[in-house]
């Protein structure tokens, strides 16, 4: 029994944490001149603010892969719980994976306790996960929701630190968005004012930063109610599309016909002599 257990212990890979096995290989490859693969990032502006009845979250919808826009209308506001939503900036796979995982954990917690999830629970689960991966999980998040203790808004940095604020911005457009917020935010905003301010902040990112673009998504969370306004604003419609559409010929066109007869160069031998030995 013990011999088997010792053997099993040697074969089991280490649990949890980041496996650095491939770092040596990557270094060797880059020394030989192989360029590292680019990954899909969400250049992003994500914002959140607390208004008089709850929380409003906003995000743009452009996903980039290096200099290319790979998704013109992606969703950056992720569902965590019926009363909690989370915007994600950074590597798209990382933000989606971590929000999905914590959303699953929150659902199990709700079954166990029979109660609505709290924003601090989501915050702590996310924070611990990101800290464990020491910043290699490139997810910068804006977490907002309304629970039994009122409205809450937090920012979470890739290394696992958090802030609790009445207004928050993250992503490459965070400075542009924060500039708009700082000049126009005041306490006791109404829902309409809040949504306008959020849209303005995202638009300042859209028009002034290449990593941000396309449309504006907004999510309004109040006590017992949420509104997910997907594509609330579309400030970048496609224009100059040919209204008549394009007409392509239905088959390959014949441009030129020329027949060239082949000259006989082969002598045909009469009689059966050639095949006889």
């Amino acid at each position: 029994m013990e011999f088997k257990m010792a053997q099993a212990a040697a074969e089991v890979p280490p649990k949890g944490g980041f496996s650095f096995d491939l770092c040596r290989r990557n270094e060797m490859l880059s020394n030989k001149g192989v360029p590292p693969p680019s990954f899909r990032k969400t250049g992003t502006t994500i914002v959140g603010l607390i208004f008089q009845d709850g929380v409003i979250l906003g995000a743009d919808t452009r996903a980039t892969e290096g200099p290319i826009v790979c998704d013109k209308n992606c969703e950056k506001i992720h569902y965590m719980a019926p009363n909690i939503y989370c915007c994600g900036a950074g590597t798209a796979a990382d933000t989606k994976a971590v929000t999905d995982m914590v959303s699953s954990q929150l659902q199990l917690h709700r079954y166990h306790t029979g109660r609505e999830s709290r924003v601090v629970t989501a915050l702590t689960l996310l924070k611990y996960h990101l800290f464990n991966y020491q910043g290699y999980f490139q997810a910068a998040l804006v977490l907002g929701g309304v629970d039994a203790n009122g409205p809450h808004l937090h920012t979470i940095y890739p290394h696992g630190s958090t802030d609790t604020l009445p207004l928050a911005t993250m992503g490459s457009g965070s400075l542009a968005a924060m500039a708009v917020f700082e000049s126009k935010y005041h306490e006791g905003l109404t829902k309409a004012e809040g949504i306008n301010l959020v849209c303005e902040a995202i638009c300042s990112g859209i028009f002034n930063d290449l990593g941000i673009g396309s449309n504006v998504d907004v999510c309004v969370i109040t006590k017992g109610h949420k509104e997910y306004l997907r594509n609330h604003q579309l400030p970048n419609p496609r224009t100059y599309v040919n209204s008549k559409g394009f007409s392509f010929p239905k088959k390959t066109e014949v441009l030129l016909t020329r027949v060239t007869p082949l000259e006989e160069k082969v002598e045909v031998i009469e009689g059966g002599d050639a095949m006889e030995e």
Partner: protein, 235 residues
């Protein structure tokens, strides 16, 4: 698993080909409080007696019918603590399925997973079988479904079934009363009448529990007030 003295399985075959521990587990189920389920044309109802050991127990803290997913509910007969363990495992299984396939777990899949857990405990060292039989009620793309899962890990799909103390009388009553085109409300009335058959004392909204799932695919446990309404209609 555990001490080497107890690492053999307690569920070993008897010379007559039976697993005696499972038989005993079924006896434990048979002495538990009556529970039943009825599959209607447009939904499923499950119900159970909620007899508390003393009038001093706060009956609002006891919940015998549990929600496994928004569209699947479960009730049991037998040992309450064993039921709790199975419910926790089912929550986790359903959530893992949802995380992997991004769709709600179908009723048959969840039943299979619960049954697999119950079977594991009849073939492992140092553990005993679960002392509960479950009635799983759900509504998914295959319509309304009712499954019974036994301590051995075997499961059956039923149109109507009962378990626990009064099982033979209850099943006879259900056989007489069941029709294929029953509506959900009729099924609730029938389940109340079936429970009433073997009920000791005065039946009320506080000593029975009823869970229903209809075409809206949302499983919910009825409040005592709603049960009182149904009881009034039945009388």
């Amino acid at each position: 698993m555990g001490d080497s003295q107890y690492s053999f399985s307690l569920t070993t075959f008897s010379p007559s080909g039976k697993l005696v521990q499972i038989e005993h587990a079924l006896t434990a189920v048979g002495s538990g409080q009556t529970s039943l389920g009825i599959k209607a044309a447009n939904g499923v109802v499950i119900a159970t007696e909620k007899k508390l050991p003393s009038i001093l127990v706060d009956e609002s803290s006891v919940q015998k019918i549990q929600t496994l997913t928004p569209n699947i509910g479960v009730v049991y007969s037998g040992m309450g603590p064993d039921f709790r363990v199975l419910v926790r495992k089912s929550w986790k299984q359903a959530e893992q399925y949802h995380r992997l396939y991004k769709e709600p777990i179908p009723v048959t899949q969840l039943v299979r997973e619960i049954a697999a857990v119950m079977q594991e405990f009849t073939q492992s060292g140092g553990v005993r079988p679960f002392g509960v039989s479950l009635l799983v009620a759900g509504f998914d793309d295959n319509g309304p479904q009712l499954y019974q899962v036994d301590p051995s890990g075997s499961y059956f799909s039923w149109k109507a079934s009962a378990m626990g103390k009064n099982v033979s009388n209850a099943k006879t009553f259900l056989e007489k009363r069941y029709t294929d085109d029953m509506e959900l409300d009729d099924a609730v009335h029938t389940s109340i009448l079936t429970l009433k058959e073997g009920f000791e004392g005065q039946i009320s909204g506080k000593n029975i529990e009823i869970g229903i799932i209809g075409a809206d695919k949302q499983f919910r446990v009825l409040t005592p007030a709603e049960i009182e309404d149904y009881l009034a209609e039945v009388e």
